[in-house]
């Protein structure tokens, strides 16, 4: 039986030109959705059905997509959760980060809260779905993977480690149907008050590498962080764990 998969897509933003585009991770979400559900995949967007960028998603080989039509200032989450509750959905795919506005980012978490579903963050692949359970590969740094099993339904945010989105073809993209559903969203007060500014690269902690040979330097650059000062807390009480995190944050000057 093919699972019922929905990929949520947003209007991305090219990091160099700032121009609207198919969002990188949302594209991967559609790609993963196509792998799981083929042409039966539902692609869902909240916003303006006339937006030309949406054609780039359907150009990946979908006959149609659904747009919950609402104003730009409206909150996407209520419309999405209402809609998703009506359908019998197994998996919802989103990106990890938003490229513009309120896309991925918080959306999977807010949705999960509303629907009462688990969130599986940073998915590299969904390997199999059997008897209502999915085997999921999570992306960890440096190409590592962790395999977990999750009960359907769930929400997964798709990491950059997932298969890249296939090429979008102009013709099918132009011809696909845009099924527009009217929704009346509430104005998202928090978002209206947002101030957007260009991102500045975060300062990186310098690693001092005392390597003499090229081989050493290569090792230092590629090796797993040794995390000498780290600590694995398994048996301690929740209060102790929280205290340890709090202390680290103070130590790192994250909170003062």
């Amino acid at each position: 039986m093919q699972p019922n998969v929905v990929s949520l897509v947003s209007i991305g933003r090219h990091p160099q030109s700032g121009r609207a585009r198919r969002a990188e991770q949302d594209g991967r979400g559609v790609e993963l959705g196509l792998k799981l559900a083929g042409e039966k995949l539902s692609v869902l967007h909240v916003g303006n059905p006339e937006e030309p960028v949406l054609r780039q998603y359907v150009g990946m080989g979908l006959p149609a997509m659904t747009v919950l039509k609402q104003d730009e200032t409206a909150d996407a989450v209520p419309a999405l959760s209402d809609y998703l509750q009506q359908e019998k959905i197994d998996i919802v795919l989103t990106g990890v980060r938003s490229e513009s506005g309120e896309s991925s980012g918080m959306v999977p978490y807010l949705l999960a809260e509303k629907l009462g579903w688990p969130v599986v963050a940073r998915v590299a692949d969904i390997v199999s779905i059997k008897d209502g359970v999915a085997e999921v590969l999570l992306a960890l740094p440096r190409g590592q993977r962790r395999s977990v099993t999750v009960k359907l339904p769930f929400i997964a945010s798709v990491d950059n480690a997932a298969a890249p989105a296939r090429q979008s073809a102009f013709g099918p993209g132009q011809r696909a149907r845009m099924e527009s559903v009217n929704t009346h969203g509430e104005v998202d007060q928090i978002r209206v008050n947002w101030q957007e500014a260009p991102a500045k690269p975060r300062p990186k902690r310098l690693k001092t590498v005392k390597a003499k040979t090229a081989a050493d330097r290569f090792k230092a650059a590629t090796a797993k962080p040794q995390g000498g000062s780290g600590k694995v807390m398994k048996n301690e009480s929740a209060a102790e764990k929280a205290k340890a995190i709090f202390d680290l944050l103070i130590e790192e000057n994250v909170i003062r």
Binding site: H14, S17, Q167, A169, F170, Q174
Partner: protein, 637 residues
């Protein structure tokens, strides 16, 4: 006696069968898409096109051109007279003598065809083509013997029944090949299809010494884009494929074929013929696509071409260098066909290989193929003190910088050119960040939607300003601006504007004495003709004039000017990167080395990149602008 009538009856029957075959062939072409042609004017112009344009190409091979004139001329004349004598029974002796003359001429020609076929070069197709000279000779000899009594040389009824029977067999063999075969797909099909192809060519501008190289715009918004099935071609494109004589001149010139990539333009055209007529390529008797076996291709007028007839790799191997088109005596348009089929793969299938999809996505999102910030387009000119036309509104010369602006190697060419223009006090401006990719790569990769969008946006920008000339160092942008933008220029942004390549423009400056140049004292220099400057735009002289003005005697490569071998950089080939046995750029560098030159002058940043990509030791590679700038005598103020 019935037996005396036998040859005449045979002639009429074979003629009728030939006509039926021809009508069937015409119906095959009509499966293609409609395209307006001027029927009467085309047919009227056809003999002239054959005698001038086609023979102009064939003339490059003197042996073949004379052979063909004798054979074809002799045959056409004899056929007319054969019909007069044997069907309409014109009995004047003079006509018979004329017929004998024509037949002897044809026999001579056929003999030379025979001779060439004794040890044919690998580019020629074998199979039925090996039979052709024998059929020609049979035809000529048969009718000579048949006509001798008519001319009064031999007595009527000479040879009796036996000879008549033998001659009847000869008539069947000769006319079977020449008339029946013409209609039913034998080698002689080329004469019938070729004549009509000349009459209804899709680019009539090419005749009379003209040039027509811009791709035709793809209509957007239909149920499908590009050519998926043979019947998606225009009917006269199908007709054109049928005109192929399998001479393999295209194959011999094709850089991708020589590099062992899976492309052979002759086989491609023959596969199109298989597609339009239906069937397999089992009867094809020429060189295969390198690395692919012949006999497995299957096609039909309504079958998807890339599903069984041609592999996509074949289409993506082409550098769109036009060497095949330039060389083809039948004036077949390979590049149009290849790009038509690529359009389907890219715009309908979303299947552009390797970096293709990434590059197209970048072009769409940033107007340049590498995804750089559009706002950094003018960074290269930070120290150049170049006016931006947005502020000036007008200039004599608008310098179209092209995407070379983002590439450090190309920037050296740009700076050299600016230096020369400054020295000549040219009133120049650039578009700055308002410039966008010309759309060349997108178009050659089959994404005409993106090309058209870029063309329209660039034209909208250009239409805001006034300038007399637009000059670019990039032959690809030059080609787009000069030959392809006109289809979208509804505002007349380029009306009355001269579009020039920098070598042409610099040559004007040098001829006008605006640049003081020192004599070049380096070693031997050769010049590589970029495809998009030479074959696409016919500019062979300005670069050579410029080198001459530095006192350089160009050591020409064997393949230069219209026969120049591509550097491998055109048509998006470095992006789709189809593996072969060798690299095209390496082969071109071997051509350069063979001249003993220490420096190869080029007029294109793409050629520069490709040739400099060849491992050292190798001759140095420099754009002509760089060479000139190096020899510039700067006036001290």
């Amino acid at each position: 006696m019935v037996i005396d009538w036998l040859p005449s009856i045979l002639i009429v029957v074979l003629l009728a069968l030939g006509v039926i075959g021809a009508l069937r062939r015409i119906s095959l072409w009509r499966a293609g898409q409609p395209e307006k042609v001027n029927l009467i004017a085309g047919l009227m112009a056809m003999p002239g096109r054959y005698l001038n344009d086609l023979h102009h190409v064939v003339e490059r091979d003197k042996y073949m051109s004379r052979t063909h004139v004798a054979t074809a001329g002799g045959f056409v004349l004899s056929m007319v007279l054969v019909i007069a004598v044997y069907v309409f029974h014109v009995e004047q002796k003079i006509v018979a003598w004329l017929l004998l003359g024509a037949l002897v001429l044809m026999l001579c020609g056929a003999f030379f065809v025979f001779k060439r076929r004794l040890n044919p070069p690998s580019r020629l197709s074998k199979g039925p083509w090996m039979r052709l000279p024998k059929s020609l000779i049979t035809f000529a000899l048969t009718f000579i013997v048949l006509t001798l009594p008519v001319a009064g040389v031999l007595p009527e009824g000479f040879g009796g029944v036996l000879l008549t029977l033998i001659l009847s067999v000869g008539v069947i063999i000769g006319l079977g090949e020449l008339i029946f075969g013409m209609g039913w797909g034998g080698p002689m099909k080329h004469a019938f299809a070729g004549a009509l192809h000349l009459a209804f060519h899709r680019r009539p501008e090419r005749f009379g010494g003209g040039r027509s190289t811009g791709l035709k715009p793809a209509p957007l918004g239909d149920e499908s884009h590009g050519v998926a099935k043979p019947s998606d071609f225009k009917w006269n494109q199908l007709l054109g494929f049928d005109a192929c004589v399998q001479c393999g001149k295209c194959e011999a010139m094709c850089p991708a074929f020589a590099a062992g990539q899976p492309l052979n333009p002759k086989k491609l055209i023959q596969d199109m013929v298989v597609g339009l007529a239906g069937g397999t390529d089992a009867k094809y008797a020429g060189s295969p696509y390198p690395g692919k076996e012949v006999g497995h291709a299957k096609g039909g007028a309504n079958n998807i071409i890339t599903a069984g007839l041609i592999e996509a790799d074949t289409l993506w191997s082409c550098t769109t260098c036009r060497a095949c088109v330039e060389e083809c005596p039948m004036m077949i348009e390979h590049v149009d066909a290849i790009v038509d089929m690529r359009r389907f793969l890219t715009m309908e299938k979303g299947d552009t290989p390797n970096k293709g999809s990434e590059v197209l996505e970048n072009i769409i999102a940033t107007d340049n193929p590498n995804g750089y910030a559009p706002g950094s387009r003018t960074n290269w000119a930070a120290d150049q003190n170049l006016p931006v036309i947005k502020e000036k509104k007008q200039a004599d010369v608008l310098f179209w910088v092209s995407d070379g602006a983002f590439d450090m190697r190309s920037q050296r060419i740009l700076r050299s050119f600016v230096k020369l223009m400054k020295a000549a006090n040219v009133d120049v401006a650039i578009l700055g960040d308002e410039e966008r990719d010309s759309g060349d790569v997108a178009r050659r990769l089959g994404d005409d939607a993106t090309f058209q969008s870029l063309a329209k946006r660039n034209l909208a920008t250009l239409s805001q300003y006034s300038f007399k000339k637009i000059v670019t160092t990039d032959p690809h942008a030059y080609h787009c601006l000069r030959n392809e933008y006109a289809d979208f220029d509804t505002e007349g942004a380029l009306k009355g504007v001269e579009v020039l390549h920098h070598t042409t423009f610099l040559n004007q400056l040098v001829q006008a004495g605006a640049l003081k140049l020192d004599t070049f004292k380096g070693g031997k220099v050769t010049y590589h003709d970029p495809c998009y400057l030479g074959r696409y735009n016919g500019e062979y002289e300005a670069p050579r004039d410029l080198l001459r003005s530095l006192g350089i005697e160009v050591a020409e490569m064997e393949r230069s000017r219209f026969r120049s071998r591509c550097c491998g950089g055109g048509g998006g080939a470095p992006i789709t990167d189809i593996p072969g046995e060798r690299r095209i750029a390496d082969m071109r560098m071997e051509d350069v080395t063979a001249t003993g030159a220490e420096l190869v002058a080029v007029g294109c940043q793409q050629c520069t990149a490709m040739l400099e990509g060849v491992v050292e030791p190798r001759p140095e590679v420099k754009d002509i602008a760089e060479i000139l700038a190096g020899q510039l005598i700067e006036e001290v103020h």
